[in-house]
C-alpha cells in the first residue's frame, strides 16, 4: 500500500479510499462478506489487518445476513462497528437492517451501489440502497471518491451522535466511483481521530454487573412508542448532519451540505440526480449556460433523512424539473427520488412541473447527450407548459 498516514495527496479508487477511511477510524469490529463491486474494501482492509496497521477484529462471516447480525451483536456489546456490501448483499441484510436501526445501533456500512437481480448484473444502479430506504438508516451519497472518503467520517459522527443513534449507509456508485482512480486529499490519522473521537456504546452486553435485555418482544402497548422515538431521532438527524458537515468543512476546507445546488439561483430548468452522474450533468450545465440557457443541477447528498425543506428552497424559482432516478419503484409512477421530491415541492406557492426519468440501470452509461436531451425537453416544457410523458426510461 503506497499511501501512508502522512501522505496528504493520493490517487486512489473509491474502494481503497473508503478502506483507508475505515483504517483511519480503526473500528473495534468489522464483520465482512465479499461482493462485487465492494469487495476491494474488505480486501484492502484485510491487508491492513495482516500488516498490523489496524487492530480491528475482522471476522469473515459466512453471509451478509450473518455480517449484519454480527454487527448488531458487536454494537450491542458497545463496540464501534463497520462493514461494506453491495446489491444482493444488502438485500440479504434487509431483515437485519431494520433490527439495527430499531435497536438504535450506530453501525456504519459502505454500500457500493449495484443493481439487483434478476437479471443478475454487477454494475451500478441505486436499486440496492433505495430498497433499504425505509429501513431507518441514514443514507449519504457521494459524487466523487473524495466525497465518499469524507462521507465515511461524517456518517460515523452523525450516527453516533447521542441525539441520533441510528445506523448509517455511505453510498457510492459501483465501478464508476468504486473502481475509478481519482486524486484526493486524505486526512491525517490525527485529524480523523480528532474528528470521529472515541465511541463507547451504552448499555453494553459486556457490562455483566449491570445486565440489560436487548431485543425484547414488544407488543401493542409499547411498539409504536419505540417507532415514534426512532422517527424523532431521524428528524433530529437532519440538524445534526448539517452541523457535522459544516464542522467538517471548517476543519478540513472541504465544505459540504445536505444538498449540492449547482447553478440553480436563476435556473429555469433543473435536473435532480444523485451520485456520480451529477458530474456529467454539471458539465452539461456549464455548456448550456454558455449558450445562455438557464439550467442547473440539484444533487442530494443526504437521502435519509430526506431534506425536503432544503430541496423545496433550492427549487423554489425553477419552472421545470426532471428527477433522474437510477432505480425504479416499479409503481408505474416514477422512481423513488421522484416520488419523494415531488411531494417535497407540493407546498410551494408556485410549484415547478416535475417529471420522472429513469436512467442508467445495471450500469448503462449516462452520457453528455442524455443530459442534453433531458434539458432540451425541460426547456421546451418551460415554453409550452406541458409535460408530454411524465415517467419515462432514458439511456435505453
Amino acid at each position: 500500500m503506497a499511501v501512508t498516514a502522512h501522505t496528504k495527496k493520493a490517487a486512489l479508487t473509491g474502494n481503497t479510499a473508503v478502506a483507508i477511511a475505515m483504517k483511519q477510524i480503526n473500528p473495534d469490529v468489522y464483520p465482512a462478506y465479499p461482493i462485487t463491486p465492494s469487495t476491494g474494501i474488505v480486501e484492502d482492509f484485510s491487508g491492513f489487518v495482516a500488516d498490523g496497521s489496524v487492530d480491528t477484529e475482522l471476522i469473515t462471516v459466512e453471509s451478509e445476513h450473518s455480517a449484519m447480525s454480527a454487527c448488531i451483536g458487536a454494537s450491542a456489546a458497545g463496540a464501534r462497528v463497520m462493514t461494506a456490501t453491495s446489491s444482493q448483499g444488502l438485500a440479504l441484510m434487509w431483515e437485519m437492517l431494520y433490527i439495527a436501526s430499531g435497536m438504535r445501533l450506530p453501525i456504519v456500512i459502505a454500500d457500493v451501489n449495484r443493481a439487483l437481480s434478476a437479471p443478475i448484473n454487477i454494475h451500478c444502479d441505486h436499486s440496492d440502497s433505495m430498497g433499504a430506504r425505509d429501513a431507518g438508516w441514514l443514507q449519504l451519497y457521494a459524487e466523487t471518491v473524495q466525497e465518499a472518503y469524507d462521507n465515511v467520517f461524517m456518517a460515523m459522527r452523525i450516527a453516533e451522535n447521542a441525539k441520533v443513534m441510528l445506523p448509517a449507509m455511505v453510498c457510492m456508485d459501483g465501478f464508476i466511483t468504486s473502481h475509478a482512480i481519482e486524486n484526493l486529499d486524505l486526512l491525517s490519522d490525527e485529524e480523523v481521530r480528532g474528528f470521529v473521537g472515541e465511541y463507547k456504546g451504552r448499555n453494553s452486553l459486556l457490562d455483566t454487573d449491570n445486565p440489560v435485555t436487548w431485543g425484547a418482544m414488544v407488543l401493542q402497548d409499547h411498539y409504536i412508542t419505540f417507532k415514534h422515538q426512532q422517527s424523532e431521532a431521524m428528524t433530529r438527524a437532519k440538524g445534526v448532519a448539517a452541523g457535522v458537515m459544516k464542522e467538517f468543512g471548517e476543519k478540513f476546507g472541504r465544505p459540504y451540505g445536505l444538498i449540492d445546488a449547482y447553478r440553480l439561483e436563476d435556473a429555469e430548468a433543473a435536473i435532480v440526480i444523485m451520485n456520480s452522474a451529477a458530474g456529467t450533468t454539471k458539465v452539461v450545465v456549464d455548456d448550456l449556460r454558455k449558450q445562455g440557457k438557464k439550467v442547473g443541477v440539484l444533487r442530494l447528498r443526504l437521502f435519509r433523512p430526506f431534506p425536503f425543506k432544503e430541496i423545496a428552497d433550492a427549487l423554489r424559482g425553477v419552472k421545470v424539473v426532471a428527477v433522474l432516478d437510477r432505480a425504479d419503484s416499479m409503481n408505474s409512477f416514477g422512481g423513488p427520488l421522484f416520488n419523494e421530491l415531488r411531494s417535497a415541492l407540493y407546498d410551494l406557492d408556485n410549484r415547478p412541473k416535475v417529471m420522472s426519468r429513469i436512467y442508467g440501470l445495471g450500469g448503462r452509461d449516462y452520457k453528455v447527450k442524455d443530459a442534453v436531451e433531458v434539458f432540451e425537453e425541460l426547456l421546451n416544457i418551460s415554453k409550452t407548459g406541458k409535460i408530454d410523458t411524465m415517467t419515462k426510461y432514458i439511456t435505453l
Binding site: 473495534d28 469490529v29 451483536g73 458487536a74 456489546a77 455483566t208 445486565p211 436487548w214
Partner: protein
C-alpha cells in the same frame, strides 16, 4: 462437578414469572446451564418460545446480559458479541482478568433449519461460545409446525396425520453429528431429567476454549399433547427408549454417557403423546415397528462407536 446442593445455592439467573407454559422443558434446561457456567455469562436467543416467553416488554426474566435479534442468527449474533469482547479486551476496555462466557440458545427450528448456516459459520470460525439447541421437535411458538428435528410420523400442523398420510414421513436430521463434523472440541446430547449429566456437560463445554454444542431434549406439553406434570418423565423415556441417546464427543472421541440397563420399547415414549396417537391404530402397527427398527439401528450405530475416535 457441582452437586445438586451446590447448584441450588447458585444465583438464579432466569427468574420465575416468565410466560413459558407449565411443564415446558426450556426453563430447567436454561437454568441448569446458566448455573453451570461458574462466572459471568452473556447470552443470545433465537426467535421462538424461549425468547417470546421470557421478555415481553417491559419485563424480562433474564438476570444476565441477553440479546435477541432474529430467528436464524443466534450464532451469528453471539459471534459479534464475542468478537467485540475480544476487541475491547485487546484495547484494554475490559479488564484482562475478566472472563466472560458466551451462550447462544436456539430452538430446533432456529437451529436445525433456518439457523443451520449461521451455526455452521460460527463453529467454523472457532468463536469461543456454547451453542444450546433446545429441541422440542417442532416450531412450537408459531403453532406446532414440523421442523427437520420433528420425529418420524409425528403429527404437526404442517405434517398432519390424515386419511392417507400418517404424519411426518422423514427421519429427523442428525444435527449433533453435523456439528461433530465441524471438529468442535466438545458436543453432546442431553436431557433435563438427568440434571447431573446436563450440568456436567454444560460445565465441560463452557470450560473448553472454542465452539461447543449441546443438543437438549425439551418436552413441550402443548405440542406433544401431553400432561404438564409428565414432561420430565417423558424426557427420561426419550432416553430410556434410546430415541434420544445421551452422549458426548470430546476431542473427537465418542462416549455414550448413559446406557439404559434395560432398553424400553419405543411405544412407551410414544403412547402418552397425542402427536403419535395415530400410530396406535391397529392398521398402523407396521409404522410403529418400522419406527422401532430405525431407533434400534441408530442406537446400535452409536454403541458401535462408543469409545472410538469419530473424527
Amino acid at each position: 462437578m457441582a452437586t445438586i446442593k451446590e447448584l441450588a445455592k447458585k444465583d438464579e439467573l432466569l427468574s420465575g414469572g416468565h410466560r413459558l407454559c407449565a411443564g415446558c422443558g426450556i426453563p430447567p434446561i436454561v437454568r441448569i446451564i446458566l448455573r453451570s457456567a461458574n462466572g459471568p455469562v452473556v447470552a443470545s436467543s433465537a426467535t421462538g418460545c424461549l425468547e417470546v416467553g421470557t421478555t415481553i416488554y417491559p419485563y424480562t426474566a433474564w438476570r444476565i446480559p441477553w440479546i435477541h435479534s432474529a430467528f436464524e442468527n443466534s450464532a451469528a449474533t453471539i459471534s459479534g458479541v464475542e468478537t467485540a469482547y475480544r476487541a475491547l479486551k485487546k484495547r484494554g476496555r475490559i479488564p484482562a482478568d475478566k472472563d466472560i462466557k458466551f451462550v447462544a440458545f436456539g430452538g430446533d427450528g432456529g437451529t436445525y433449519d433456518i439457523g443451520l448456516q449461521s451455526l455452521s459459520g460460527a463453529l467454523e470460525r472457532r468463536h469461543n461460545f456454547l451453542y444450546v439447541c433446545y429441541d422440542n421437535g417442532a416450531y412450537m411458538n408459531t403453532g406446532i409446525q414440523r421442523s427437520s428435528a420433528t420425529p418420524l410420523f409425528s403429527n404437526t400442523t404442517t405434517s398432519q396425520a390424515g386419511e392417507v398420510i400418517q404424519g411426518k414421513q422423514e427421519w429427523r436430521k442428525d444435527l449433533t453429528r453435523i456439528v461433530v463434523a465441524h471438529n468442535v472440541p466438545f458436543a453432546a446430547q442431553c436431557s433435563p431429567h438427568n440434571w447431573a449429566d446436563l450440568s456436567k456437560k454444560a460445565e465441560k463445554a463452557l470450560a473448553v476454549k472454542g465452539p461447543t454444542f449441546l443438543n437438549v431434549m425439551s418436552p413441550c406439553p402443548l405440542g406433544w399433547y401431553t400432561k404438564s406434570e409428565d414432561s420430565i418423565k417423558l424426557a427420561k423415556l426419550s432416553v430410556d427408549t434410546c430415541y434420544w441417546p445421551l452422549y458426548e464427543v470430546e476431542n473427537g472421541v465418542m462416549k455414550v454417557t448413559y446406557k439404559p440397563k434395560e432398553k424400553k420399547p419405543l411405544a412407551e415414549w410414544l403412547k402418552p403423546q397425542g402427536r403419535f396417537k395415530h400410530l396406535f391404530k391397529p392398521e398402523n402397527a407396521n409404522l410403529l415397528s418400522a419406527f422401532q427398527a430405525r431407533v434400534d439401528s441408530e442406537w446400535q450405530r452409536l454403541i458401535d462407536l462408543d469409545g472410538k475416535q469419530v473424527y
